[in-house]
Symmetry: C2
Subunit: 434 residues, 2 copies
């Protein structure tokens, strides 16, 4: 009873950007054309690929006749615009122009969404078109659709995500091979997992953008990049990784969004994750997002967080969804921000800490340190004391606390640093997922 | 610019069945009413709950005034019908009546979908309404939506699922505590993870229904329960679990759907999964679905596969989706069966096997056994030979093969059994996920 696919006019698809992901999107649009037509109900016709330089050498799958430097003109001719340029401009202007012209848009641009998502949402709403962005968070892993749609009848309490493959690869190498951070970053660069300038990854900027997007979706509240408390992995030493393992933890860079008393709190930082937690087993450059919801309980979504093919898979899933809406009518989810929960500063979070200290090795030292914690209402879960290497006069103290307000933890650490018997606060790491 | 929620007429929701899941659905509809209204764009009004006996004692959240035994009349008054009765009839007739009356339907009924999904799909298509069933596979885990939508631009190659929490709990207990099957089943029953009659779970019927649904979605092909080759866990001994661990594996009951040469193959059986595989870490009554797709690569979805609250979360996510379509227009995915791939019998699969044998302990025995495998073109990956307990005359041989056609593996095992030097084929298990 349905009209044959060939009877419907094809949908015109424009691709902006032809890097690694763009090339794979073009490949799937080309090689899977029949399957895509059957799934959409109309053929998807690639009408152009906007690039900066049409003369650059390209993969053979890219038809050079489709290349253009006139992205503005291209978006005006398309039913579906796929933005894979990255960065804020001209991506932002081109998406707004596409939307204003009535096109549905699919983007993988996490930075733009985290910075200016509301503008795009409002434009899409005005024009009545779809804005999809599954590939912007955790690459191939379906996480945006599950959070926006599958969990729409539930209350999300917390999201813990390993959403940056580069840093996960680096931390995993440090743990499995005892490398220090610089060595592990160099290895990641050699394998193409890290950029020549790894700042966006190792300093947590990439993860922070994804945290903002996930928090917005999970809590039906606008959360922007500026709301995210961010700390990267540059402070993590081989020694930290070793001590994590000795005490039953793995260090992961986590994007955390949680609902607490009075609002939501969104942060990115390295954290100790218990070895038995599902996130602890996420190795190499893989990503995973762990979600705790009131009724659903614990969920985890695992897969490749980057790379041309995995990201292209997520992009094409979105293309099929928005194209189907153009054929059959209807629209996907719009921005959901009705909850308008306050976004709280990081020191409002309640977290556990592991503090490592070098102390003078004499009786009564632990009692003094414990008194400082008690004085700040920070309760100790475990203490481990061991002689420090060859030294006869120093000891190493590893204290893991119960959850307490972040500001109390910070004040405690400052007070501990001032104790005469404390030679050095070696490291301070939050404990998550327990 | 949008019309306030209160300005739209409420959507009338009918719930069929008020067991554990039904009660939790009613609880969420009641306690989350404001959030649901904000997400849908209209209030969801619970207009009735069909039960067999209105006099049965219920949770306080269930308004007894809404109970009715007249399910047929109830479905005619509803915009959205949620079917949580289970079983084939009267669920099937009621859903068809609801659809014919123009209601959108949400069901968690895996048995009905696996047996008669096409009839429901056709009716929904005819009426132009939604048929959603996220809760039918792996409870709270969003897997139906990701496979139907997120992966719609990709080509799924294989699905490996731990989709039955009861058997996973039983196998996990056997592994962690050395229990035998009967003891572990009794413990599962005591904790409410297994029914008084555990047949549907331990014999793999429940997993087979879910395998049929997943295979249909993943391969755009109609797969029914009759197409699924099914074997339960009743043949698994404490000894099998012990030897699995000795050789680096964990035994899991897997629902497997894979695309091969000439078609798709769908089966349920216990299998050895390498300890490093993400599925091996799925403990207790948890479920997980591992998906391999051409572009996305490896994905895994993990969470609670059963229970009132988790299942209710999945149901409500569907209710929000279908309700939004009624408010904003549009429809969700319809049946996708354009690929029409042949469904191949189990002996067309290519699998690896681990075969354990008691043999006469004398020189040349391994050579004889190896010759039988070679004669059937089945290649050996590893062999482990050990003396058998106190016996001076017997040895235990553990052979793991490379992948070979199932029929060749079967013929090999029959030929090995006929060897004079073989005292007993102790166990034969397939190896998956490597």
């Amino acid at each position: 009873m349905s009209v044959p696919v060939t009877a419907r006019p094809p949908l015109r698809v424009a691709v902006l950007g032809c890097g690694v992901v763009g090339t794979e999107v073009v490949r799937l649009l080309t090689t899977q054309a029949d399957d895509l037509a059957a799934r959409v109900g109309a053929r998807l016709e690639l009408v152009g690929i906007a690039v900066r330089d049409t003369a650059t050498a390209r993969d053979a799958v890219v038809d050079v006749a489709l290349l253009t430097t006139d992205a503005e003109k291209l978006v005006e001719q398309a039913d579906v615009v796929v933005e894979l340029m990255g960065g804020i401009e001209p991506a932002r202007s081109l998406l707004l122009r596409a939307i204003a012209g009535g096109a549905s848009v699919v983007t993988a641009n996490k930075a733009l969404l985290a910075q200016d998502g509301p503008t795009l949402y409002a434009a899409a709403d005005e024009a009545g078109v779809d804005l999809y962005f599954e590939a912007a968070v955790a690459g191939a892993i379906p996480i945006v659709r599950p959070v926006r749609e599958s969990l729409a009848g539930d209350t999300v309490e917390r999201v813990l995500g390993i959403v940056n493959g580069t840093t996960n690869y680096v931390l995993d190498k440090m743990a499995s091979e005892g490398l220090d951070l610089d060595q592990a970053v160099k290895e990641a660069q050699a394998l193409g997992y890290a950029e020549a300038d790894p700042t966006a990854d190792v300093e947590g900027f990439d993860a922070a953008a994804k945290a903002a997007i996930l928090a917005s979706l999970a809590f039906h509240t606008r959360v922007s990049l500026d709301d995210v408390d961010r700390q990267g992995i540059t402070g993590i030493s081989a020694d930290d990784v070793l001590w994590a393992s000795r005490t039953g933890y793995v260090i992961k860079l986590l994007a955390i969004a949680e609902r607490g008393v009075g609002g939501v709190q969104v942060r990115v930082h390295p954290a100790l994750v218990p070895e038995a937690h599902p996130l602890a087993g996420v190795r190499g450059a893989y990503n995973a997002v762990f979600v705790e919801a009131e009724a659903a309980g614990q969920l985890m979504f695992y897969g490749r967080g980057a790379g041309g093919q995995p990201t292209a898979s997520a992009v094409l899933g979105d293309v099929v969804s928005v194209a189907r809406h153009r054929v059959l009518g209807g629209r996907g989810p719009v921005e959901s921000r009705y909850a308008e929960l306050p976004v709280l500063p990081a020191d409002q979070a309640r977290t556990r800490y592991q503090i490592r200290l070098d102390v003078v090795d004499r009786p009564g030292v632990l009692a003094q340190v414990a008194a400082v914690l008690a004085g700040h209402d920070v309760s100790i879960e475990t203490v481990r004391q061991s002689p420090l290497g060859d030294s006869a006069v120093s000891a190493h103290l590893v204290i893991t606390t119960h959850a307490a307000p972040d500001h109390a933890q910070r004040a405690t650490i400052e007070a501990i640093e001032r104790l005469d018997v404390v030679e050095r606060v070696v490291s301070v790491l939050r404990v998550e997922g327990s």
